[in-house]
């Protein structure tokens, strides 16, 4: 009886160990969702809305690491919080634009999207860092939904593996750092983007409304 109990304990212990090893080997699936701090910057002399598409707010990126594991990073959950915080602090007035909605009290609309994302883990780069690169693409429309221009915003974040208890948490910290970097770059340089600068200097003009057949975010 004692031997049977002992064997059961050994078997259970062994199964637990296997379970823990499997859990430890599982590829991380991280979500970047956080409240972001308010940028302390002088407001740009513009009133704009942000149009956040579903592609952006549901953005999920996965990358194969080796033959079996696939790492996933969910950036979508952070986007609304990011752009709302930016809108409040960078623009004189702002709102979140809904599909099909136009707001004539504002000067125009900005549509951000994630054009590209990459991340690396310490094994790949032989460094101590988890790194995340995000390339945002912005489209600026006037109040009649005419495209004024577009530009890219690169962002980078890193996290030292030793500072975090798990790979997932380190990747999450690197992703969060990249989002903060994008916010920092946007809030400090928005009025220095050449097309934005010239549009503001020209008095934020708007052309005639586009023809209904044209595919703009307001008709999406």
């Amino acid at each position: 009886m004692t031997n049977l109990n002992f064997q059961t304990i050994i078997l259970r212990g062994f199964l637990c160990l296997i379970g823990l090893i499997c859990l430890g080997c599982a590829a991380p699936n991280v979500e970047i969702s956080s409240k972001f701090p308010t940028p302390n910057v002088r407001k740009a002399p513009v009133s704009l809305s942000f149009y956040l598409s579903e592609d952006l707010t549901n953005y999920m990126y996965s990358q194969k690491m080796g033959k079996r594991s696939e790492w996933k990073i969910d950036l979508g959950a952070a986007q609304q919080s990011m752009f709302m915080t930016l809108g409040e602090s960078v623009f004189e007035n702002y709102s979140l634009a809904q599909p099909g909605e136009s707001n004539n009290s504002l000067d125009g609309m900005l549509e951000p999207k994630i054009a590209e994302i990459q991340f690396s883990i310490p094994k790949q780069t032989r460094t101590d860092y988890f790194e995340v690169w995000i390339r945002y693409h912005f489209k600026l429309y006037d109040k009649n939904a005419n495209l004024i221009g577009e530009w890219d915003l690169p962002a980078y974040g890193k996290a030292k593996a030793q500072d975090y208890p798990s790979d997932g948490m380190a990747l999450q910290a690197a992703g969060l750092s990249a989002c903060r970097d994008a916010m920092a770059f946007f809030s400090l340089n928005f009025t220095r983007v050449p097309l934005v600068k010239s549009w503001i200097q020209a008095g934020k003009p708007s052309s005639a409304p586009p023809k209904p057949t044209q595919n703009s975010p307001e008709t999406a």
Partner: protein
Amino acid sequence: MNISSANIQIGLRLCTLFIGINLTGCVTSTVQEIRETPTSVSGTDTVVVLGKRDRPSSQETELDFVGCVSENLSSRKNGIRSIPESQFIDHLFPWFEPRTAPTRTDNLVRLISEPLITQKFKEIGLKYLIWIEGNTERTDSGGSLTCGVAPGAAGCFGFLTWENDSAYEATIWDIETGKTAGRLSSEATGTSFMPAIVVPIPFIARVKNKACTSLAKQISSFFQNSS
């Protein structure tokens, strides 16, 4: 009989506790200081300890070391009010992010000329910025340890040894003048070892902790001996 058995148990526990407390390897540390300008900290003034993170480097300071120095400064007798790093970075967002943080005092002068930033510094009573650079590395290791498990028995046999070196430098910036007030460095070296005869017993040299407490003590005395 019961009493003596209880006494033995208490004795064993005390022995274990005593061994546990004293099972640390030896650590030697040195600190150095260069003063460039006089300093003064009043009861309402605050300082912040920040790690330099402007570019990926194997020398980047660990988050826990920065936190340790900050906590040690606040917890000392006549402690200096030190704001946690993350709280400060959020409060001054986006001016102290890796890409935007001032890397030289020239950048600090430009930063403190911004009324918005000066107002934020005043809100928290910030007087000095303390930048920390450096890290702790394993410089040497040796020995071998073998463990085995069999039904009803398990044990290890061998001897492991490793050496850790800590080298940190703190640069103190005066927020009012935009100049460097001084530089302090803390170096610590320690050897840890783990003999194993059935049970491995680690003797850990707490090198990083020693470097942290030495540096915090030195920073504290730097502010107190102001001239």
